[in-house]
Subunit: 214 residues, 2 copies
């Protein structure tokens, strides 16, 4: 008889939480069994290898980015630029609430496993791409307020890098100060872009945007 | 008889290279012994625990930031802003040359070990602080070309975050494109700061800088 499907869910959630807190290599199979309450037969039924479990965790993040990360911010905030900073603020709250014990799950796994786990690596890239696409859509929605030369996807890549770096520093320092410094400086950049993008109305803005961008 | 001091050097270098490539938890003591050619007696003489070896690796980075990272760039480039981007370009070259197998050693260790190794964490912070101080000095040297409101240390924190995030993405994607996108966008920001900082000469610039920054 096959083990029930909710055992699979419990295994994935236990692995997800342990990988996030300790990393992949530091997490033992025995610990995952203990935390999930599953037995080893069920584990090997659903996940013949530890990497299969890792893949399932990364799929969980892929499937939950909207509900877990974006929706809580986007229902609270309408302004597209404020949504970008709202997402960043979500990481800030998580860092503070969990006393810097947890950061970005994809970022952690990526630095630990990019060399050794090619299949998982592709799912990490997909997660990064989904994150970037969501932020890129916010920036696109605010395009009328930004200089014409700004490419939303490229700016979204910068925002993603700043988030990952800022989370890394906050966790290392066990202090929110470096996170806040980086995000404040990024805000300074956005304020500058908006000041420039809204300085002139109509067709004048477009042509000036081009001159300034050269 | 105590083992010779160059055995200690070989142990630290072997651990440094293996931690960089595989991470800390995935690197076994046996592998460090094999790669260094040292015996376990020497290892335990110098480093009673694996964490002692980690500390020595982080001290190695602390002591070699000038020679290994900054000096090669600073002797080639005089302009302080170009030095900032020269340092970033050094990471780009390393990523390309080693086919994305290696990133920022401190960044890797920081995400893997910040929760579990408090003594090592303090040395990671010191390494981040030294990096930021060097970049902050470049920005300070270029202050006359930047808006008055820019705080060099805060901007340096942003640069560090962008570097760490960009290296992370390049390693995950196994492609330089996301690194280049992030650094190009950071360059766009610096260009904008410089355009603003040098737009007006003399006292006018200072007062306008204040108005714009509000």
């Amino acid at each position: 008889m096959n083990p029930p499907i909710d055992t699979r869910v419990r295994l994935v959630e236990a692995a997800r939480d342990l990988f996030l807190l300790q990393g992949y290599n530091a997490t033992g199979i025995a610990q995952i069994l203990r935390q999930s309450g599953a037995n080893s037969g069920s584990l090997y039924h659903f996940f013949p290898t530890k990497e299969d479990l890792l893949i399932a965790v990364l799929e969980w993040y892929r499937d939950n980015i909207w509900e877990g990360l974006l929706q809580p911010v986007f229902t609270r905030i309408d302004d597209p630029i404020e949504r970008v900073f709202g997402v960043l603020d979500g990481y800030r709250q998580m860092l503070m609430m969990l006393e810097f014990e947890q950061g970005c799950p994809i970022g952690n796994l990526s630095l630990e496993l990019a060399n050794s786990h090619p299949k998982a690596r592709e799912l990490m890239v997909l997660n990064f791409e989904n994150w970037k696409a969501a932020i890129g859509q916010c920036i696109t929605a605010a395009r009328g307020r930004l200089p014409e030369s700004i490419e939303p996807q490229r700016l979204a890549t910068l925002v993603l890098c700043v988030m990952e770096g800022a989370v890394m520093l906050a966790r290392s320092y066990r202090h929110i100060a470096p996170f806040d410094e980086a995000v404040l400086q990024l805000r300074e950049y956005f304020d500058r872009l908006i000041a420039e993008g809204t300085r002139w109305g109509g067709p004048q803005r477009a042509s000036l945007g081009r001159i300034v961008s050269n």
